[in-house]
Symmetry: C2
Subunit: 363 residues, 2 copies
């Protein structure tokens, strides 16, 4: 059952997850090192498809919570998320059959792999965001009715919180407060559910997708193909079927602030041609790309900043003045574009005064 | 065993606890209303002395946590602290034999009475502060080695957190963050311990003391005695044996800010004579009283602002420009003045650049 991930898979996943992180989610390079450490200590990472999970199996997703800008300064050991899963198991009096990601972008694509490797649990090839999002209620799990709590929150000192909230927005609000007090990054186990619910409410195959994206970029470089074109071709037979490079240019301005537990800010990218610049806003992840006031890409579609030659994904904390970049926008799966999904993680959920327009319809 | 408190006891306690609150602790009037409601619904408040508690009995103290300035705007129902005790019982898998205050000043003298009345639990006549203090590690329980966690934190929406911290300062830091996110006031059960530990680490008789202080002030007024003099006489045969009025005057300035989960600020009281004014600093509770730069009273001794004619205690959130007041300083029990106690709640624990000097030694 399932398949064990290879060292090459993990390297590809780190790059693919950075792409799916749309600028946020925390640097998956850190996550890859954690998995490699767990493997070096004798662990295995076994990926299973959602279909392989029994309906009555007990699933506990695991993740890092906090600002990506903090993560790079307060690097986790990998034991924190393990402790969260164990604390939630103890609280609920049930053992987990498997863990899974809540988020397939950034470090949270790899965090459950660390937990799985350390505890000998399989990891379900699916997640609850289909990308990265900054808040805990921005989950398809939430959209389709799963309570996020009881949840466990731990830090590197062994402090543990079991939180039970009256709804998932209160969970986010309270857990964010705890995370801030834990130094801006913490480790969580939440949205525990049975296998049937996991199958119904998750976005399937997103770890594999991350690996495929990473592999595609790597192979394009190795064979001197255009990595952008290769990626757009590859995505066509996935639920993220439409991708387009919407802008090319040079980073002219970047403003980044770690506030309220998030990395918030904006960037300006000057056009390579004569046209006006592209303006980008982010809250951990990129939310909206505008040129001359016109929307060119908007959440929940993926807005990805990539190094112009190699298509290496650039996270918001790594954007630097003078970088030459291309901006790519990718359509998200149908399950993430329903009215109830857009209520939870569409533009207005971030305070943007725009309706969602799919990238396919943006000129 | 024990004795049931009367309606008159509760009224006296509300006033006495306001005195012991040294300006903070939350308005015990609110707490009295909550107890009266519980009594009206058929509950009883049974006070037992620490000596009556079996050594192996399981004790769970209960309290409100947060800024007194918030409490008066977000009034509790009384069920929140009950929920905290029950949540901690469920987490620990043990039922409480009794509850008790962590703090005998302000609303926290009455909060365990509400819990006791609602659950039919006796309340131990003792506490862990001997007054009010703003932070959770500022407890004789902590000073004498009791872990504060696991603790439960609840709010009016039924959100519940079980926190386990690696030390009591981390408990305060994390619980404060949760309390802030819960709107600045929350309800806690913490420092669970056995009867022997409760006896060893608590300040005994402080609920009775609050009742006696309130009764003393009431009877002095009724019999047209000087309430200040009556109180000073009454205190002589208690562990708070030395009291003195250090200043008389009029409130000339008050600055109050609810920040970081506390009510912080300062007040200036103009002298009735020709002398310089008295300067008062507080963090929920009054910390230091200075005249012309000279310390006239300092934490952990009690610094109490009282209405000049009636000796009605005035909490920091009720200090108003123009009030005529007397400032009284009272010595604290020996258990609160040991070097290890002063490390935890002496002047330097509040960032004051002063050593503790007992009121008996201040001119």
């Amino acid at each position: 059952m399932g398949r064990d991930l290879t060292a090459q898979d993990l390297r590809d996943l780190a790059r693919g997850a950075a792409f799916l992180g749309t600028g946020g989610g925390g640097d998956p390079y850190v996550g890859r090192l954690m998995v490699e450490q767990a493997l070096a200590e004798g662990g295995r990472v076994t990926l299973i498809s959602p279909e392989e999970v029994p309906d009555d199996a007990f699933v506990i997703p695991t993740a890092m919570m906090g600002a990506p800008t903090v993560l790079v300064e307060k690097i986790p050991s990998g034991h924190e998320a393990v402790a969260s899963l164990r604390a939630l198991e103890a609280h609920l009096g049930r053992r987990a059959y498997a863990t899974m990601p809540i988020e397939c972008g950034g470090i949270n694509s790899t965090m459950p792999l660390v937990v799985g490797a350390r505890l000998g649990l399989p990891v379900i090839d699916a997640d609850g965001m289909g990308r990265a999002f900054p808040e805990l209620q921005m989950e398809t799990f939430h959209v389709y009715g799963v309570p996020g709590t009881p949840m466990a929150i731990t830090n590197e000192f062994g402090d543990t919180t079991i939180l039970t909230a009256h709804d998932n927005k209160a969970m986010e609000w309270l857990a964010r407060g705890i995370t801030i007090r834990m130094g801006g990054a913490a480790y969580i186990a939440e949205y525990s559910m049975d296998g049937a619910t996991a199958k119904r409410t998750s976005i399937h195959g997103t770890i594999s997708l991350g690996i495929r994206i990473g592999r595609c970029l790597r192979e394009a470089r190795e064979s001197h193909q255009d990595p952008f074109q290769s990626l757009i071709e590859m995505l066509k037979d996935t639920p993220y079927r439409y991708g387009r490079v919407i802008f090319e240019g040079k980073v002219a301005d970047i403003f980044r602030r770690t506030t309220e537990g998030f990395a918030k800010g904006h960037a300006t990218i000057e056009s390579d041609g004569d046209g006006p610049p592209l303006d980008l806003n982010f809250q951990n992840e990129h939310l909206i790309a505008r040129v001359d006031g016109h929307v060119r890409g908007i959440v929940p579609d993926l807005i990805c900043i990539l190094e112009a030659e190699t298509a290496e994904p650039i996270t918001t904390e790594s954007i630097r003045y003078g970088q030459r970049v291309k901006v790519m926008v990718v359509s998200t799966p149908d399950i993430m574009r329903t009215p109830e999904a857009l209520d939870v993680f569409g533009p207005r959920a971030f305070g943007l005064d725009h309706d969602f327009t799919p990238i396919e319809q943006l000129s």
